[in-house]
């Protein structure tokens, strides 16, 4: 059982807190994404778990055992680095079997294990090549195979797919996810790409400036962001500044928005607040009489897979996204009816 528990973890560099008071529980066998903009401390947190950095404060409990004082090379974790950090002076098989060599496994066993792992990552037959003879995607697979060579208790990956082109990255996301599911190894991946986190993770830990903003499943975070930063970082959101008058009324600088009982309130009325509404929850009607509001089309772009409409409703700028087949017959400058789907909004603290 490799459940990971991070308790009040803090990492200071001088006066600067790269990670500040982070507490997270990671269940056994789950796939966790550490997500956030660059400089948010996600890589530092991963390195703390790996043992490559020492905690300034707090504790790291892995499988019920305190790991704070166990050095990196005794943790039995696997790790894939951002630069992959494959050894250029060793062959692919030697790279993958390096952890077994360190542990004194005989040569035949090492070679057999390297072959087995190359099959696992779908890259058979390259045992005797050197790293510089492989393509970017192949190197990626070798790095993953090496990280898994000792059946690690925990598998850590630092922006593992960032060097790959978009198509290959999406493909590898799926493969990595399937591999993790098959092996059942507790996995933590650092990424700055919210799509990547959404498509792979069981649990997303969203960070900003060293602090955890929200922990939850991708859908929880998407549907119920804890604050405006989360709402905007995960997908796109219309963030409407205003005032929560009572539990059913939000006053957006003169435009009154009726809230439904299903809308989630993070603040108690009355208070200044931000209303978060996903663009796909804003419906545009060509008939200006339909919907709760009247608005004007400011800008419209057809992205093929979706249509984006920028609207002005009162003092608010609202973005609406719809599928091309449900595109309303409108163009820039038209007066339109705007409908906010009920029960989909979140009212957040400022």
């Amino acid at each position: 059982m490799t459940q990971i528990r991070i308790e009040n973890a803090t990492k200071m560099y001088g006066d600067f807190a790269a990670v500040r008071d982070v507490s997270v529980d990671i269940p056994d066998g789950s796939f966790v994404c550490l997500l956030g903009p660059s400089g948010c401390g996600k890589t530092t947190l991963l390195r703390l778990v790996a043992g490559l950095e020492d905690l300034s404060e707090g504790a790291l409990i892995v499988g019920g055992e305190d790991y704070g004082d166990i050095p990196a090379h005794k943790r039995e974790f696997g790790m894939v680095f951002q630069s992959l950090a494959l050894f250029p002076h060793l062959t692919v098989a030697e790279n993958i079997a390096y952890p077994l060599k360190v542990r004194g496994a005989p040569a035949a066993e090492r070679r057999a294990r390297a072959r087995e792992l190359l099959d696992l990552v779908k890259l058979p037959g390259v045992e005797d090549r050197y790293i510089h003879q492989l393509s970017g995607g192949q190197r990626q697979r070798v790095a993953i195979a090496r990280g898994l060579a000792i059946d690690p208790k925990v598998f850590l990956l630092d922006e593992p797919l960032s060097a790959l082109d978009a198509n290959l990255r999406e493909h590898m996301q799926i493969e990595l996810r399937q591999l993790q599911k098959d092996l059942g190894v507790t996995t933590i991946v650092v990424t700055h790409d919210q799509r990547e986190a959404m498509s792979m993770a069981d649990i997303v830990i969203l960070m900003k400036e060293g602090e955890v903003q929200q922990v939850g499943t991708p859908m929880e975070i998407y549907r119920n962001p804890a604050n405006p930063f989360v709402a905007n970082f995960i997908g796109v959101s219309n963030l409407i500044a205003g005032r929560l008058v009572d539990d059913r009324t939000f006053d957006a600088e003169g435009t009154e928005i009726r809230l439904a009982p299903e809308d989630i309130l993070h603040v108690a009325a009355p208070a200044r607040a931000t209303l978060s509404l996903r663009p796909e929850d804003v419906v545009v009607h060509a008939d200006a009489e339909r919907g709760q509001f009247r608005g004007k089309v400011v800008f419209l772009r057809d992205l093929g897979a979706s249509v984006e409409i920028l609207l002005r409703v009162g003092e608010m700028e609202i973005t609406s996204v719809c599928a091309p087949q449900s595109r309303p017959d409108v163009s820039v400058g038209d007066d339109v009816g705007v409908e906010f789907l009920t029960g989909r909004a979140t009212v957040l603290a400022l």
Binding site: A50, L52, P71, A72, H73, K74, R75, E76, F77, G78, M79, F81, Q82, S83, A85, L86, F87, P88, H89, Y98, P99, V102, R103, R146, G147, A149, I150, L156
Partner: protein
């Protein structure tokens, strides 16, 4: 037509260094090469001849021993300097930028010291009256102060002091370019810090280390003052004997012959070691 002019202009840049190399390196070398075959005039200088006696004289047990001493001392100094410089530089590259530049500036300033200053500074430091012997005696490690020079150890120390900054300066760029994630990856895979240093860092620096070894070896081979200041007569290297013959015995042909021989031997050693260094990768 204009092609010739263009080419002249393009290659013009190279004319100056080529001329300088010819005038100040190749011609003196050829003169020395010629002199090594001349015969010596007692009381005068030398007369042009084709005389292999200088080389023949060199092939004696005495000079063979001197040659072995020279090569052995330089090889030892190279191995020790580079052996210390590799881990030293590794730690330096892991320091902050400010600390790194302080250390590098200090090392560069050591390069500005001449062999004379280094030799006499160490001979004072290792002497009985003013040296570290007093310190060791005061700390109770020695019963009473003693002199550590002249000795083989003192000479080696001086040669290493001479060669160490060069070794660091050769190794530093390669080590600071080394991806710090590589030794970290080795640690995550179960290698202790020391093991990851020897398994990953050292093999990746193979060519650089060979280069540093060659540089320190050749450089200390030319040291002719340190053996006289810090060593005993049996530690006198070929360079000392060349100086002795050329300046004090006025036997330029023999000195030239020894210099040519030393050069050939060191060239052979450098060729051999770079061949060994490139065998893999």
């Amino acid at each position: 037509m204009s092609g010739v002019a263009d080419r002249l202009r393009d290659n013009g840049v190279a004319v100056y260094p080529t001329a300088m190399l010819l005038v100040f390196f190749l011609i003196p070398f050829l003169i020395m090469f010629a002199v090594s075959f001349f015969s010596r005039d007692e009381g005068a200088f030398f007369t042009p001849a084709f005389d292999l006696a200088n080389y023949a004289r060199f092939l004696s047990p005495f000079f063979f021993k001197v040659l072995v001493t020279s090569l052995g001392l330089s090889a030892a100094a190279a191995v020790i300097s580079v052996g210390v410089a590799v881990p030293f530089t590794y730690f330096v590259t892991r320091m902050g930028a400010g600390a790194q530049s302080v250390i590098l500036v200090f090392l560069l300033s050591v390069l500005s010291l001449s062999e004379v200053i280094i030799g006499f500074a160490w001979s004072t430091l290792l002497s009985q009256t003013a040296g570290i012997g007093n310190l060791l005696a005061a700390l109770g490690i020695l019963e009473s102060s003693r002199s550590f020079t002249p000795s083989l150890g003192a000479l080696l120390l001086g040669l290493c002091y001479l060669g160490f900054p060069y070794a660091v300066l050769v190794i530093y760029p390669a080590l600071s370019r080394l991806d710090p994630e590589l030794p970290e990856a080795a640690r995550m895979l179960g290698a202790s810090p020391i093991r990851s240093f020897f398994n990953i860092v050292v093999p990746m620096l193979r060519n650089t280390i060979t280069g540093a070894l060659i540089l320190v070896f050749v450089f200390t081979l030319g040291a002719y003052l340190l053996p006289q200041v810090l060593g005993r007569p049996q530690h006198w290297t070929l360079s000392v004997h060349i100086t002795d013959q050329a300046i004090f015995q006025s036997n330029l042909p023999f000195a030239a012959a020894m210099a040519i021989f030393l050069m050939l031997v060191s060239l052979a050693m450098v060729g051999l070691s770079s061949l060994l260094g490139q065998k893999r990768m």
